[in-house]
């Protein structure tokens, strides 16, 4: 086991190994939390976006990279695709994704 760890560390270097270990630990922790709280998550109680409206989250998250686009820019079906793209690219939480999408679809 020690040999394997030292071999991985030697291959990826200390910073790389730290990132991998950190990501793995976070992944494990989050995985556990997700399984236990899947009901809560589905109900939309994720920390960062709690209490914020879809419009507020739309303004806060989109503007961090680019000008915000009007909800009328796309149809509801198109917004679903765009928002899935943004969820992956811009690392949106499930609640942010859900609320922003609802807001955009309601205004499109």
């Amino acid at each position: 086991m020690k040999e394997s760890v030292s071999r991985v560390c030697k291959f990826v270097g200390l910073p790389g190994a730290l990132i991998i270990v950190l990501c793995a630990a976070l992944t494990w922790l989050i995985g556990c939390a997700t399984n236990k709280q899947s009901g809560e998550v589905a109900a939309g109680t994720t920390g960062g976006a709690t209490g914020k409206s879809g419009a507020q989250l739309w303004a806060e998250n989109c503007i961090r990279c680019h000008n915000i686009r009007s909800p009328s820019s796309y149809s509801p079906a198109q917004w679903e695709v765009v928002m899935m793209h943004m969820r992956v690219r811009a690392n949106l939480t499930p609640e942010e994704h859900k609320k922003i999408l609802e807001f955009l679809k309601s205004g499109s």
Binding site: G13, P15, G16, I19, I20, L26, N67, V88
Partner: protein, 460 residues
């Protein structure tokens, strides 16, 4: 007349119930069918909740429709005395027919929406951006250029997504086609997404979030962080996501990919010791491992650190390559300053270990041993007076950028720094006309090349 209305209403009710049964039966059947989801062998909580919400919404719609039909049935029938002339009776009957048609259309819409939620339904969107530009750089002939980036997005299921980006660029009498992105992404759970294929380099914030021409504030891109120290895209796999921590967020990305190549032979001596990021054949057989951590303490601020490590060069003489980047991004819509402030900075380092180039002297400059260390980055500030009550002034945006690339002690032989002053006019949120003047300063005896740049960019 009354009899006829009753017949019409009854027919309407029968039709509505028929369609309702038609809608509900497939749903019940779908619920009973084993594992319709391609994502797993069971219905997840999220999928269950979604279907339940849709079912509840449909029930509400049906109740509303029933209520409408009931109101139509209760509507007062004109008395024979008040009855219009024979020729106008058709007009009296029309609302019932129109209402029926409207109901039919609403139900058809509902059917379509329900069908769209079935697993495996593909939703496709063609997006992207186009650019036309002009460059007049001192010591060079001025030229126009144009580029078109097509972005193909497919939402295959609620968890599976594919994106492809193709760049067609016309410059210097040549049209080039590049596959920038071809990635399949799968949402493992709320906080983890796995992606495989060709994806934008997650360790380089500018490349992943800012390089698109309708997003980038200036006509050209900063030294070092774009087409400089880091690869633009990676070919491999990545795991990424975001973790909400109270009011803050922690973003993460980890990836494995083909390692860059090491340029050991070239007609251009300045390229010796540089990295070849188009090493799709993975010459040397090395693997790069890297990642990025981003922290968002408040919605306006994001700070991050990215790293990539690999071996580069021929397998039996491989040396270590480490790429690192730190990024800072602050965007605020300030009431005090009556506008949008955009402050961004990123700095990167590239290290290539000691390597003996041209060991037998056949290229005419060796043997030459050195480690190739370079660094550089940019800081950029822009301001747009979005709160000014003037439709023209609030669309203007002023930009200033300082960027630098240090590579004096490499075969390139000079450091370069630039001060760029730009003025943009936004026609729409994703359409901009940019003009900029760039003051260039190189040391090591290299010639300074000031430039006037213009660009029109449209995102769609």
């Amino acid at each position: 007349m009354r009899m006829r209305n009753h017949v019409v209403v009854s027919r309407t009710i029968i039709r509505a119930f028929g369609v309702a049964i038609f809608l509900i039966v497939p749903l019940l059947a779908t619920a009973q069918e084993p594992s319709p989801s391609p994502s797993s062998d069971y219905v997840s909580r999220a999928e269950y909740d979604k279907l339940k919400a849709e079912h509840d919404a449909m029930k509400q719609e049906l109740e509303a429709l029933k209520a409408q039909i009931g109101e139509l049935a209760k509507a007062p029938v004109p008395s024979p005395a008040a009855a219009p002339a024979e020729g106008k009776q058709v007009v009296t009957e029309m609302p019932s027919e129109a209402a029926t048609e409207e109901l039919r259309q609403e139900i058809d819409t509902l059917k379509t929406q329900v069908k769209e939620t079935f697993p495996g339904t593909t939703k496709f969107l063609l997006a992207g951006y186009g650019t036309a530009g002009f460059t007049a750089r001192s010591g060079e002939d001025p030229f126009f250029d144009a580029a078109f980036n097509a972005l193909f997005l497919w939402k295959l299921t609620d968890r599976l997504f594919f994106e492809g980006e193709m760049e067609l660029e016309f410059e210097n009498e040549e049209t080039t086609i590049n596959l920038e992105v071809a990635q399949a992404a799968y949402l493992l759970n709320d906080y983890m997404t796995i992606g495989v294929g060709r994806f934008l380099n997650p360790m380089d914030f500018f490349v992943e979030r800012q390089h698109m021409n309708w997003v980038n504030k200036l006509p050209d891109k900063p030294l070092a962080v774009y087409d400089g120290l880091f690869p633009e895209s990676e070919l491999g796999g990545q795991l990424r996501g975001v973790i909400p921590i109270g009011p803050t967020k922690l973003e993460y990305a980890a990836f494995v990919a083909n390692a860059p190549g090491l340029i050991t032979e070239s007609d251009d001596f300045s390229e010796i010791g540089m990295l070849d990021f188009d090493n799709d054949a993975n010459f040397g057989g090395h693997v790069a491992v890297g990642g990025h951590l981003g922290f968002i303490p408040i919605p306006q601020l994001e700070v991050g650190y990215g790293i990539q490590r690999s071996k580069v060069g021929p397998r039996d003489q491989a040396v270590v390559n480490v790429l690192q980047s730190v990024d800072f991004n602050y965007v605020s819509d300030s009431a005090l300053l009556k506008g949008l402030i955009n402050l961004r900075a990123q700095w990167g380092w590239s290290h290539v270990g000691d390597f003996v180039y041209d060991p037998d002297g056949s290229q005419g400059f060796g043997p030459l041993e050195f480690n190739n260390n370079r660094n550089g980055g940019y800081a950029q500030l822009s301001y747009r007076p979005t709160h000014i009550d003037n439709d023209y002034i609030k669309n203007f945006e002023g930009v200033f950028r300082y960027d630098r690339l240090n590579q004096l002690h490499t075969p390139v032989g000079f450091d370069e720094q630039r001060w760029t002053f730009g003025l943009n006019y936004w026609l729409t949120p994703s359409t901009v006309i940019k003009a900029a003047y760039e003051v260039d300063d190189k040391n090591g005896g290299a010639r300074d090349q000031n430039a006037f740049l213009m660009q029109a960019a449209v995102g769609f």
